[in-house]
Amino acid sequence: MNATTADTGGARAKGALIMDRHSCAAKMLLGRLGRGFLLCVTAVPTAAVVFILFFIFKESLPFFENLGNVREFFTSTNWAPSREGDPHFGSLAILYGTLMVTVGSCAVAVPLGITAAICLSEIVNARISRIFRPIVELFAAIPSVAYGFFAMAVFAPLLQNHGGIMISALILAAGLPIAGVSSIPLAEFASSKIFKKPSPAAVVALRIFAGAALCSAVAYAAWRVSGVEISSGTNAFNASVILAIMALPTIVSISQDALSAVGRDMREGSLALGATRFETIFKVILPCAKSGIAVAVILGFMRVIGETMVVWMASGNSLKIPEPFYNFFEPVRTLTATIAGEMGEADQTTGSARYHVLFAMSLCLLVSGMALNWLSQRIISRGAFARKKGGK
């Protein structure tokens, strides 16, 4: 085409090269339309969020119209949403169960996940880290119902039959080395406080004393736990442990990213000043990476709160607040499990009182999830990860 226009003369040739006005406008329009289309498609997640918020809110509105219901929802434990004529919506036990399972699983997952992340990024070399990484990813890939099945079919009977012994053995295995090691700095600290110039013998004596005290405390705890009778294997402890395993991949991989984002200069500076690796990690790297780790914990937390199948299958679904309130070996019930379990076939179309209260529960979940998400976004934008660019 260019060749033919070039033959016919100057003015037209010029027009063909820079395109005539019509085709230029058409192209511009097409480009605009294309961009508009792309924008529309990109807005689908936004639309989904808006629709989800709207519909969950709309379906739970009939429940919130009655203020007495709302007060009962948060203060009572009387849960009978489908009783004829006299329904009760007290969800305190369910909310407490959710809190308990979440806190329990974070208590397991956060220390374990952060230490594992430190190990992967600071202690082992890159090759071993590459081998371990897929194991962590494997945990993330396994479907939640498989975890739930494991909790129900394998872990629950084990816990019910040998729970006390198992946990006390775990306490001993983890507690005794920690007690032994921590007695050393403790003794040193104490001796420097007590004596002006501690003699070696006094330090050794203090060390033995502190070690014996800590070890016996651990042994006492283990002995107390070993006597615990676990009446049902599906309980808050079971759900917490399994949920912790599910939250681990999130915590490990995000914390690891945060830790490796800390610049080399920081590490090398600290080591050059004579700090050991332990001190470097605790005094330099962790404070630098703390907001990234906080994001990791929050995202792990979110995964735990929103998880359905594991808690449904492993938590025992009991509508009571455990006695005493910190007893993790009692069955509990969570919001997600209640929603999944109570939305019966009949309720799905008729829109009964139960239908609406379950939507109100999911609104609670949604709001807390969004709040946590917002919090993590805030932390990220505050610049924890900005260091990643600046540091390197």
Partner: protein, 567 residues
């Protein structure tokens, strides 16, 4: 702090960190090992002859000749047990014993008639209520032989027929007492009160004995019925007629797997449940060992026979049952495979991909190639993040409230509704991973394409997308794995627990069984959950295998991509 202390702390912290990795590895092993070991048992296991009967009769598979040979051997072994059972049900000496009892009864009444004079004298001597024990004693004397025979029969030869016969004996005794009154009346006219007393008290001792005997017989019969039920569960129906009358498939065949068969043998054949009354008068049911509780009775013999011939009766052999993956389930998963669930998972996953992949790719292109940092784009990005943070069960409720109850994409649950819900769930992941993949395409590619005169759109289609494709595929495949494994969003939108596979044409209107939901269902809501553990483990293993397969494909793809980028 001293240097040595600091060194110890450093070392021990390293040990702690390494042990946390060790704990995670141990957890992975502890989690996967039982599932892999037990799950593979769904495909590779010791099958009994009943398994091959099931394959032959229901699925028309396997060699008929081999089956015939196995059946012959097992029938020969079963015959020993069955002949014992038949002997119990219709004992050979029943006629003799019942005849002896009946004639003893007649003889006793004849004797009573003979002694009528003596009897009336007793009545004369003991007036009023005082006569009752005396009459009873007199009756006991007459019926001594009879009672002995009845007790003997109850001890040795209880059977359903005997129970019936003893029930008849009770009436015969009462009738006989009424008849013998007339003989007494010939001596002296008896008053109404006396008549009543004689009628009640004369056979009282014999009746008591009879009652004890028939209780013993009916207890034996109940135990036998429980035992027979156990044998039916283990071996299948005894006769062809029983088989045809049985409605459910689990009544047509015995145990198909050796491990379950051994469990059934231990729980329902060698031990049976018997009803008993405890000290406070409540009816309880307890499991007792047949060989101990019924020592010396035919039942103990049967139990011994069943135990001894167990292997011969079941004819176990190791088999690969690939049909577990490709067969439909029969009789709520007790027989057959899990094909409909696998198919349903496939439909849902592919459906979710059809919706999510194009949307995700386009959104990623917009974010990485077009979007400038502005308020609108930031808002859009934030919404992607928010969508990723929505709990999965909330997606399920949203699918129910919006797709099914409001838009009505289908009458009730359907694959379509489930796919759209799952698509929304995995959309953020796809967008993020595709965006990452697009970002890894070097800027020089873009510049070169634009420099050669390609338009932006053309540059994206012909240069950038092909370069980013492996990375995008990785993200999409990982999201597929996630969609395949999610349960909560499909509970209210797509999943049903019935076992029939649905045709491709029905995906717009029909709910489907799907692996994740059916795993939950078969574990928590199945009536015989403890007898189909292999199916549960098999399903879980299949699901994990599907997801891990998808993930490893993605990882391989990613590694190849990285090599390509490096090299």
């Amino acid at each position: 702090m001293k240097t040595s202390t600091r060194k110890i702390l450093d070392k021990s912290f390293s040990a702690l960190a390494l042990s946390s990795m060790a704990i995670m590895c141990a957890a992975a092993v502890a989690f996967l090992a039982p599932i892999i070991i037990n799950g593979s048992g769904a495909v590779w296991f010791k099958a009994t002859v009943e398994h091959f009967k099931f394959l032959r009769e229901v699925l028309d598979r396997g060699s008929a000749r081999e089956l015939a040979a196995m059946t012959e051997k097992s029938d020969a072994a079963r015959e020993k047990l069955y002949s014992l059972m038949r002997a119990y049900e219709s004992p050979a000496d029943f006629k003799k014993i019942s005849g002896a009892i009946a004639s003893a009864r007649r003889a006793a009444f004849a004797e009573a008639a003979k002694k009528s004079a003596e009897f009336v004298k007793i009545l004369d001597e003991n007036k009023g209520a005082a006569s009752a024990p005396v009459i009873k004693k007199f009756g006991a004397g007459i019926f001594a032989d009879y009672s002995g025979l009845v007790s003997g029969a109850a001890k040795r030869s209880s059977s359903p027929a005997m129970a019936e016969f003893l029930a008849g004996e009770k009436e015969a005794l009462q009738d006989g007492a009424r008849a013998v009154l007339e003989d007494f009346a010939k001596i002296r006219k008896l008053s109404v009160l006396e008549k009543g007393r004689v009628r009640r008290e004369l056979p009282a001792a014999a009746l008591e004995n009879l009652g004890a005997a028939s209780e013993k017989v009916s207890e034996d019969n109940a135990a036998y019925a429980a035992f027979k039920e156990g044998v039916w569960e283990l071996l299948g129906p005894m006769t062809q007629a029983d088989k045809e009358a049985a409605k459910m498939m689990r009544r047509k065949f015995g145990q198909t797997r050796m491990d379950v068969a051994r469990k059934v043998l231990g729980e329902s054949v060698l031990r049976i449940r018997v009803n008993s009354t405890d000290s406070s008068g409540r009816q309880t049911s307890e499991s007792v060992l047949v060989a101990e509780r019924f020592k010396g009775t035919p039942l103990a013999e049967m139990a011994k026979c069943a135990e001894e011939n167990f292997t011969a009766m079941m004819q176990p052999r190791n088999t690969f049952y690939w049909g577990f993956l490709f067969d439909s389930p029969y009789d709520s998963n007790i027989f057959g495979g899990i094909f409909p669930m696998i198919l349903g998972t496939f439909y849902l996953t592919v459906g979710a991909m059809i919706f999510a992949a194009p949307l995700g790719i386009v959104a990623a292109i917009y974010f990485s190639e077009y979007a400038k940092n502005g308020r609108v784009v930031n808002f859009l990005r934030m919404c992607v993040g928010t969508l990723a943070g929505v709990p999965s069960i909330v997606f399920g409720l949203f699918g129910l409230a919006f797709l099914i109850n409001t838009v009505k994409v289908s009458e009730s649950k359907s694959v379509l509704a489930g796919s759209i819900t799952l698509a929304l769930l995995i959309l953020p992941t796809i967008i993020r991973s595709c965006e990452e993949a697009l970002k890894t395409v070097p800027n020089s590619y873009r510049e070169a394409a634009l420099g050669l005169g390609a338009g932006k759109w053309r540059a994206i289609c012909t240069v950038i997308l092909p370069a980013a494709l492996p990375g995008m595929l990785t993200g999409i495949i990982i999201s597929m794995g996630r969609a395949a494994g999610e349960t909560a969003p499909i509970i209210f939108t797509a999943a049903t627990s019935t076992g029939a596979a649905i045709a491709l044409a029905d995906v717009f209107t029909e709910a489907t069984p799907a692996l994740p939901w059916n795993i939950y269902n078969i574990c928590s809501e199945h009536e015989m959950a403890d007898k189909i553990e292999h199916v549960q483990y098999g399903m879980v293993l299949t699901l994990i295998a599907i997801v891990l397969l998808l993930n490893s494909v993605a990882i391989v793809l990613r590694d190849r991509l990285q090599k390509k980028l490096r090299g």
